[in-house]
Amino acid sequence: MSLLTTLARLEAVRSGRAEPLATVRHRHLSERPMVLVPLTAAGESGAPLAVMLGTDRDAPRLHLVPQPLNRTLRFDFLAALAADLLPYLESFGEDVEQIEGSEKDPETGEKTQVFRELCTDAPQLIVPNAAGVHHLALIGRSTRFRRTAEDAEPGPHPAPLRVPLLGRWLTHLTDRAQVPGSSLLLPMTGLLARHWATGQSHLEDQHLAARLAWHFPPPGLTGAQAAELAESERDEHGQLVHPPAGPATDPAFDAGVLAPAIARYDAAVNALQHSTEQGDEAAAEHARAAVRSAVEHLERALRAVLLPTWRDVWQGLDLLRTLPPAGHLEERWTGDRWSYTGHRDRLAAGEPPQPRQDDAVTAARKLAQREREQARLDVQEALDDPLAMAEHRLSGEAFSGVVTEVVLEYDTTGRSPKPRPLVTLRTADRPHADLGREAHRVHGPSAQKARIVAVDPAEGTVTLRVLSGMGRKKEPEPGSLPEPGEPVTFTLFELTVRQSAPLPEPDDTPWTHGGPPGTAPVAGPSATGPSATVAASEDWE
């Protein structure tokens, strides 16, 4: 945690309200985001219980599993979720633009012009918190290999047709969510934490309602009091007034509301089965009504615990929309669009689902991509937001000041003299400005590199020799150098992100990493091959 963030948190404690950490919004927000609030059943990892979703805050749709242990009902639920979510995800695949690029012929080395399709927009899923992202990843993992009736060997329990496809989309979205700065799938608590500091711990900040309490404390209450109320206030039945944002539910809700409602459903189903076996049509009719009523009862209970979080997520979106978008959002969203388009194309090409585990090369590639994107994100946030840059200035990795002097000097060691002017600036910052260190000018007319040649901490001056970004002529291009009196900022870190080194193709995986995938299985828990085999036996109902 940076010193500035710590300070903001301390200020939040004192003011009793959330304090800003950013002056602009650092994540893309879609015009039409899909808000999705999942709930999981206690006792079984990743067992879905219900989900509330929709793109209209006034029209949330609810899907639920009346008996979470029943696999048939779970897959009915997943089929309903797929039918609801897939049209949204697929709706962005039609509208494309053509992006010009060039492709090198591997034989002749000749470059040819090619056009690639890029979807003009992409879907965006907003879940309440990071645990929600993890839950979607679990659903993706448990469904993308399921066989359906369309498979050659559907097995004893074929899944509904579109469920594996849902699993592949969820896997793609949750995998993409690991890429720093990506915005296809975002947790609301993470979004808020990036932009505001509260006076509570990071763990407490994972509770969406408690977090929002710092933004909107009721009159007469501080943020801390309001947060505590949001976390712990219970009604006369012992139920939380503001249920947690899930996916795990409150144990008091499980015991006091959910378990009796599920028991009532089970009893109604048993009665229906019994009366059907007996051929008692009147009793069956009665039991069918009882089942319907039990499901409606469950719906009411689950809607009641989901709606507060649903509203919270939308309130969070409102809050984020009050911030102006950062300058580099468009660029990073284009990366998300490429990611979306790529997945669309892989589906269209009939490729198999994402493997259960990445192979060595894929894992290394993903890690390289994430590190690259993290570096890019850090730089872009600093460039977009003076508060983000202030963190770097405070840690001595950047400095801002006013130019006091510009002296034109030349490097005459080459054939023609090159301009190597000296720029002196006065700064109140205390950078780790070791002599000879490279510095990079922020918001210059072009990328400009300089070297620190003199530092006077007593006077607060730093002198730099400008090395580039002045054009190719003998004299620096007009406007390429800062003028005396002009405010400037330099960073001691590079403002462009380095390329990642090339990695071998998976088929060329070297002996140090086990050779090409599938050739030499390694003992241990990672011994699973890339092929996906469904567990041999499974309790189904």
């Binding site: 060329d508 140090t512 241990g524």
Partner: protein, 450 residues
């Protein structure tokens, strides 16, 4: 168990086994040879000898090190100890190697590997090797500081060689990344794990060799470091308790600083303890105490006597180690303020750096700002075994630790809470236990500073 063999003979036998396995592998022998080396066990000497013998056997060879500093060190050492070798120093286009490397006649620098393929030995960083497109791969490679190398870097360079000697210190800092990698935890080829760990997982027939003797650590330090950080692979000091002596020329003035210096000179360890307090990372009082200690070390004109001879303790034989870069910067500024040189380009100067950058370096006396000093919490970063191990094992004579009181209580309040991942071997010792061991030993050499 420790053998009764004298340390020199035990070390020689280990080196002979390693060289035989590297230079003359038996038919069907695994393609990798791994050497685990505790701090100062002659790793660099081994690398030089292996390079000489491989070249003498008619091989050309590539060497992979992890940082430019390590590469330059190695080039300098090779050029000096093995003048018969021709050495290519492959460097990045925007970073020329240091002048002390280029003064050797047998070293050829270039940023293009094509200019160097004829050289007996080509040395570069793993970051640079990853970009090399070689038509004819080398048969042999030596990977230095291999435990510091990340698995994904090895993945990118392994195509360049057929066989490799991996040399490194398993007790030092693990490679790291700033992004989440939980998704690959437990995979044998987790790209964020160490290159050696991955390579051994895929080549289980390889038995790592060990260097059993630390020539750097004095008799006062080797048992503690071995017990705290290498509990299952013990090593010993190559020198006895009488072989190393630190003697000050100036009598103590009765201050806490002098008391701590005298303790360190006598026992090899000392703890300068400040009153308990939660502070910012760059705790001004602790930083000032570090700077004052270093200054006093220089003022008192210490003489370091060892098996290598007698030499005055000059600034370039002292290092200050910290956990964070901003702490190092603060110490550097504080040292400048009290008139201690910290810029090596203008003469002998004290080295001030983080644990990560001090890896593989050696000094007579080190002053360490304890990673947990003044902290309200003990995070995985600050508890990491390797960090403390690096900081506590750079010295030939003495190590002075500067810390706020209350670290033991802090440790007790923060047992490690990292989630257990399936398939990830549990690292022993854990940072919590190692920290307690070192602290307990230090508490016997404590001096209070008010």
């Amino acid at each position: 168990m420790m053998s009764e063999q004298p340390p020199g003979a035990a070390a020689d036998a280990a080196v002979a086994r390693i060289l035989a396995a590297t230079v003359h592998p038996s038919a069907g022998a695994p393609r990798g040879v791994v050497v685990d080396s505790p701090p100062g066990a002659g790793k660099s000497t081994l690398v030089v000898r292996a390079a000489r013998e491989l070249v003498a056997a008619g091989e050309r060879l590539m060497i992979v090190a992890q940082t430019n500093g390590q590469v330059d060190d190695l080039v300098g050492r090779l050029a000096e100890k093995a003048p018969e070798l021709t050495i290519g120093r492959l460097h990045a286009a925007d970073s020329r190697p240091g002048p002390e490397v280029l003064r050797h006649a047998n070293v050829t620098p270039s940023d293009k590997v094509a200019d160097l393929v004829e050289q007996d030995v080509v040395i570069s960083t793993s970051a640079k090797w990853q970009w090399v497109r070689a038509e004819a791969p080398w048969r042999h490679a030596i990977v230095d500081e291999a435990y510091q190398m990340r698995s994904d870097a090895l993945l990118a360079v392994a195509r360049l060689f057929e066989r490799a000697l991996f040399v490194g210190d398993p007790g030092q800092l693990d490679p790291f990344t700033v992004v989440g990698t939980e998704q690959w935890a437990g995979l044998s080829y987790d790209p964020s794990s160490s290159a050696v760990v991955t390579m051994l997982a895929h080549n289980p027939q390889i038995e790592p060799h060990r260097l059993p003797v630390s020539w750097r650590l004095p008799a006062s330090a080797a048992p503690l470091i071995s017990r705290a950080f290498y509990p299952y692979t013990p090593f010993r000091s190559g020198t006895g308790p009488e072989d190393r002596r630190l003697t000050p020329a100036v009598r103590p003035d009765g201050s806490a600083l002098d008391a701590v210096i005298d303790r360190a000179a006598e026992h090899g360890w000392a703890l300068l303890e400040l009153p308990a307090r939660h502070t910012v990372r760059t705790d001004p009082q602790a930083v000032a105490a570090v700077a004052a200690t270093v200054r006093r070390l220089l003022e008192r004109g210490l003489t370091a006597r060892s098996e290598q001879g007698e030499a005055p303790l000059t600034a370039d034989r002292i290092a200050v180690g910290t956990a964070h870069r901003d702490q190092a910067a603060a110490v550097r500024a504080a040292l400048l303020k009290v008139g201690v040189p910290v810029d090596g380009t203008t003469g002998p100067a004290v080295t001030v750096d983080t644990a990560n950058r001090l890896q593989g370096r050696e000094y007579d006396v080190t002053v360490v700002l304890h990673p947990l000093s003044g902290r309200p919490d003990a995070t995985a970063f600050h508890l990491e075994t390797g960090r403390l191990c690096v900081l506590a094992s750079r010295h030939r004579h003495a190590c002075i630790v500067v810390a706020r009181a209350g670290i033991a209580e802090l440790l007790d309040e923060h047992p490690s809470t990292e989630p257990v991942q399936l398939g990830v071997p549990v690292a022993f010792p854990d940072g919590w236990e190692a920290n307690h061991q070192v602290l307990e030993h230090l508490s016997g050499h404590r001096v209070h500073l008010r």
